[in-house]
């Protein structure tokens, strides 16, 4: 990635982050949602686009983070702001044995396995009446007020937190990719068997990324449901909200590219603003768009932009075996 590109991207990211600070409450609400979504998308991109770990069960950790945070607050009277990071950490710890299980499966079966895991979490929490059972629960008022008595102040704080998460996630990906660790990841993405033969411990790398992403995702989930004040099994572990939308965002934006999630989020939120009134039609359109992009332009909008820019500044192409596509 060129220095100019990195600087430009960082600038755009910071601008997006600063914008809601200038707006009113509803802009900050939207900004919070945008930032949280961007964080989840960035993390999924890291997992699937860079480490080659295709999970369709990340909602497991979104809901788990939310529920663990709620549990800590409700059962131990812990201040919310302490419960948040602890919930994230706990998600990372739980991801260790959970990962052990699902990594016994390969490829597409692994993907479904992650979904089963999320379902187990969902059904489990639905059985815990102390946490609201199937209908869920709200955070105790006192815990919310302990943060601040002013709603706009709380919103600002939550927004700042979310923006930090989003920026942090992007920074993490950026730094990761430039490190030795990251070179291993890129090698996996470009040519896994070759990477393995060169001594890159593919399995270990994948597991580490899976665990790290789980913790970060859990933290994000905890924040999402903190600002939501209410959690339920169906909301916490929703496939549509935390996987389908996120996947569509990353695919449309450009999987495996650092700017992909941001582009995808901009498109997604734009679409939603324009078409959400159309209900199921909107989701059909989104799904169809993701399918078309995967078939015709697998590198997404980011890939398209890169191609157009590369033509302006001629660069040597790289060998790209199309043998397998000679159907």
């Amino acid at each position: 990635m060129s220095r100019n590109f990195a600087l430009a991207y960082a600038a755009i990211l910071l601008a997006c982050a600063a914008l809601p600070l200038l707006g009113d409450n509803s802009t900050r609400q939207l900004g919070l949602e945008f930032a949280a979504t961007l964080t989840l998308a960035t993390l999924w991109n890291l997992l699937a686009g860079y480490a080659g770990v295709v999970s369709i069960g990340q909602q497991a950790y979104v809901g788990l983070g939310g529920y663990l945070m709620f549990a800590l607050v409700v059962f131990t009277d812990m201040p919310v702001l302490l419960a948040l990071p602890l919930a994230g950490l706990a998600c990372g710890l739980i991801a260790i044995p959970a990962g052990r299980l699902v990594f016994r499966l390969r490829g597409p079966h692994f993907a479904i396995g992650t979904w089963v895991l999320a379902e187990v979490f969902r059904l489990f929490f639905a059985q815990i009446s102390a946490l609201g059972g199937g209908s869920g629960m709200s955070l105790p008022i006192m815990s919310i007020l302990a943060i601040s008595h002013s709603r706009p102040d709380r919103l600002l704080l939550f927004y700042a937190f979310a923006a930090t998460l989003a920026l942090g996630a992007n920074l993490l990906v950026f730094l990761l990719l430039r490190s030795r660790f990251g070179l291993g990841l890129t090698a996996i993405r470009d040519a896994e068997p070759a990477a393995a033969s060169l001594g890159v411990d593919v399995m270990w790398l994948k597991r580490i990324v899976y665990i790290g992403v789980a913790a970060f995702t859990g933290l994000t989930g905890a924040l999402i449901f903190l600002q939501n004040v209410r959690i339920s099994p169906d909301a916490g572990f929703s496939v549509n909200d935390w996987t389908a939308n996120i996947i569509f965002i990353v695919v449309i934006g450009g999987i495996g590219r650092i700017e992909g999630p941001l582009i995808g989020c901009l498109v997604f939120f734009g679409f939603r603003a324009a078409f959400a009134d159309f209900g199921p039609w909107y989701l059909i359109g989104l799904g169809a768009l993701a399918i078309l992009i995967m078939l015709l332009q697998p590198k997404g909008i980011a890939g398209l932009l890169h191609r157009l820019l590369a033509r302006r500044t001629a660069r040597p192409g790289f060998a790209n075996s199309k043998i397998n596509r000679a159907l």
Binding site: A48, G52, V54, I56, L101, R104, L105, R106, G107, P108, H109, A111, I112, G113, W115, V116, L117, E119, V120, L123, F124, A126, Q127, G134, V239, N240, A244, I247, F248, V251, I255, G279, P280, W281, L283, I284, L286, G287, A288, A290, I291, M294, L295, P298, N324, R325, L327
Partner: protein
């Protein structure tokens, strides 16, 4: 004691449904290493199609099978040739993402066309008839019939795959899709046939399921997960293993339900994870993941 036997028997019988869900999924993976994440949604689609026919023409849902099965087969063939063939290759991502997209599209299409309400195909007393083997041990005739049908379908598929020319071509294609072309056989066509078969079974599964349990536009993923679990429990590449896997899953769910109705599905998932831990390749594996 008898009531536990009854529970286990009920679980076995339900296995027939899960095996039917799983067979199409297994076929597509066996031939093309492709997992259709929308498989469960296509099963539900078939059930809704039958519902539409029943409502439109006032016929028995079972009669609809005559139309649904060939229509689903044709849909599968077209889907494979026009869309899914384009996703095949070394990368795991395209087939997963495209079929995931299809899943969302189908669910929302059904939502638009039929509303979110739970539905059931009208089969009247057919689904509640049962015989009593022992006092306290009731065998539902419908699920028994479905189990027998599942076994018959798997048996027929085995005969087809191992005793016919086309079956040999399909097995060969699953070994080596490039070399099959050197035999003068178009691999794209064979993939289409495999998916057509898978969808035909999915159509059968949808109608049979729809007559027995409630279904709605959102029930697809559940069917996918159950079918997937049956396959993994039974072992990859072994259709008879899948039948057994479905029965194991059914029994686990029945036991869970007996402890607490809310535990039914969860018990199945836990049994699946337990087997994944203890025997990662399933009970009767025949092929590498």
């Amino acid at each position: 004691m008898i009531s536990w036997l009854d529970i286990i028997v009920q679980g076995f019988l339900v296995g027939g449904f899960y095996a039917l869900f799983a067979t199409g999924l297994s076929l597509m993976f066996g031939v093309m290493r492709l997992v259709n994440l929308a498989h469960g949604d296509f099963i539900v689609l078939a059930a809704f199609a039958a519902l539409a026919l029943v409502q439109q023409f006032n016929i028995s849902p079972l009669l609809c099978l005559i139309l649904i099965i060939p229509l689903m087969a044709a849909l599968g063939y077209l889907l494979q040739r026009l869309i899914l063939n384009r996703t095949l290759g070394k990368d795991v991502l395209p087939p997963l993402l495209v079929t995931f997209g299809l899943s969302i599209v189908i669910q929302n299409f059904l939502l638009l066309t039929f509303s979110a309400d739970s539905q059931k195909l009208p089969l009247g007393t057919l689904t509640t008839a049962s015989i009593s083997l022992l006092p306290g041990l009731n065998i539902g005739l419908y699920p028994l019939a479905v189990l027998i049908i599942a076994a018959a379908v798997i048996g027929a598929l085995q005969i087809f795959l191992y005793q016919t020319k086309l079956g040999a071509a399909i097995r060969a294609t699953s070994d080596d899709a490039t070399t099959i072309r050197l035999m003068g056989i178009d691999n794209r066509h064979i993939f289409g046939i495999a998916t057509a078969l898978a969808f035909a079974v999915a159509g059968l599964a949808g109608v049979l399921m729809g007559g027995y349990t409630n279904f709605s536009p959102a029930s697809g993923p559940q069917n996918l997960l159950f079918g997937f679990e049956a396959i993994i429990i039974g072992g990859l590449g072994n259709l008879w293993g899948t039948l057994l896997g479905g029965m194991v899953l059914g029994v686990a769910q029945a036991i869970g339900a007996e402890i607490n109705p809310g535990y039914q599905v969860l018990a199945g998932h836990i049994a699946f994870l337990a087997i994944l831990l203890a025997a990662p390749r399933g009970l009767f594996p025949r092929m590498a993941g």
